[in-house]
């Protein structure tokens, strides 16, 4: 075995790719997309460079959340198959580097947002980062099965931040977009947590399937999908979006509710027989992308 593989990880400076992995790029893509949607549906058009910087700051803020989350949960991540290969549990990076990187990214993203757009957007970005790290990761996640419900607010901020970056104020439409993501988060994460329940149980995280069981979780998924569908369609009757969005949102949300009903009908505790849950999880990601794409298309085609 070469000498390099026998050394302790802390003896080596972390590879730059591990810093990228620390930012959870896949999660970041959805955050960036929803932030971009908020920016594009706003009635004010920013100069390109300022819009680009606003989205960059949202991405860096999300990256900071990912890094600080992994710094705090390194020991928990080591116990779960899904997360054991991350840079910290795999021993490719020391915790202090992750902490410095996360804090640095957080400050940089907030200050740059304030300088490039406005300080209300910067404050909202700071609140979302603090909410995710302190309220969700540190406080709620290890303590309550409702962690995702309240913690989901952190992920709902990007479209609001995008809108405020463009306009400088809060309005009804971005608040509805906030509500859509807020109500979408529990069904999305609970669908995942149903088929990786053993991972969460092994790590001692009180996700709903671990604490309340499969049946209760499936019922909650279905119940949350109903107000989520209502919030998704609401911009149309409220006159905040046109019929292109309204019709598409109704169809997309109907499919979501049908898939949630299939999850509700499933009685299996075996992850191998959770095709309905896996389908809902995959569709939920598509749903949010599609919904926000249609909203932007509606605004630009209808304008």
């Amino acid at each position: 075995m070469p000498a390099i593989e026998m050394t302790t990880p802390a003896a080596l400076p972390a590879d730059w790719r591990d810093f990228v992995a620390l930012t959870k790029p896949r999660v970041m893509s959805l955050v960036v997309f929803s932030g971009l949607a908020g920016l594009l549906v706003a009635p004010v058009q920013l100069p390109f460079v300022l819009g680009f910087t606003a989205i960059l700051c949202i991405a860096l803020g999300a990256g900071a959340c990912g890094a600080l989350n992994q710094w705090y949960e390194a020991e928990i991540d080591a116990k779960m198959r899904r997360t054991a290969k991350r840079p910290l549990p795999a021993g490719r990076m020391d915790r202090q580097s992750a902490l410095h990187f996360g804090v640095g990214l957080a400050f940089f993203s907030v200050i740059l947002m304030g300088l490039a757009t406005n300080w209300l957007a910067a404050i909202l970005l700071a609140v979302s980062i603090l909410f995710y790290v302190l309220i969700y990761t540190v406080w709620l996640k290890p303590r309550t099965a409702q962690n995702i419900v309240i913690g989901g607010a952190a992920g709902a901020f990007p479209p609001l931040i995008g809108w405020v970056a463009a306009t400088g104020h809060v309005a009804a439409l971005p608040l509805l977009l906030f509500a859509i993501i807020f109500l979408w988060t529990p069904p999305h994460f609970w669908a995942l947590s149903l088929f990786v329940r053993s991972d969460y149980a092994a790590a001692g995280i009180p996700m709903l399937p671990v604490v309340a069981g499969f049946e209760n979780t499936r019922r909650q998924i279905f119940l949350y999908s109903l107000p989520m569908a209502g919030a998704a369609v609401a911009p149309w009757p409220l006159g905040l979006a046109g019929p292109i969005y309204g019709g598409s949102a109704a169809v997309l949300s109907f499919v979501f509710v049908v898939l949630a009903a299939r999850v509700l009908a499933n009685r299996s505790d075996d992850p191998k027989q959770m095709a309905a849950e896996k389908k809902l999880f995959a569709y939920s990601v598509f749903y949010l992308f599609a919904l926000f794409t249609v909203l932007v298309a509606d605004r630009w085609l209808g304008a």
Binding site: D15, L50, A116
Partner: protein, 41 residues
């Protein structure tokens, strides 16, 4: 590969990336300043 060589390789790689990012930041700040002051090209 020796440990020292790998350490130096990674440090150089990170230094290069940091330099590129700082350069990109300077250019970004330049264009943000132009946009904020309302100068149109």
């Amino acid at each position: 590969m020796k440990l020292e060589d790998e350490v130096v390789r990674r440090q150089r790689e990170r230094a290069k990336i940091t330099a590129w990012l700082l350069g990109a930041f300077v250019i970004l700040m330049f264009f943000i300043t132009l946009a904020k002051t309302g100068i149109n090209w």
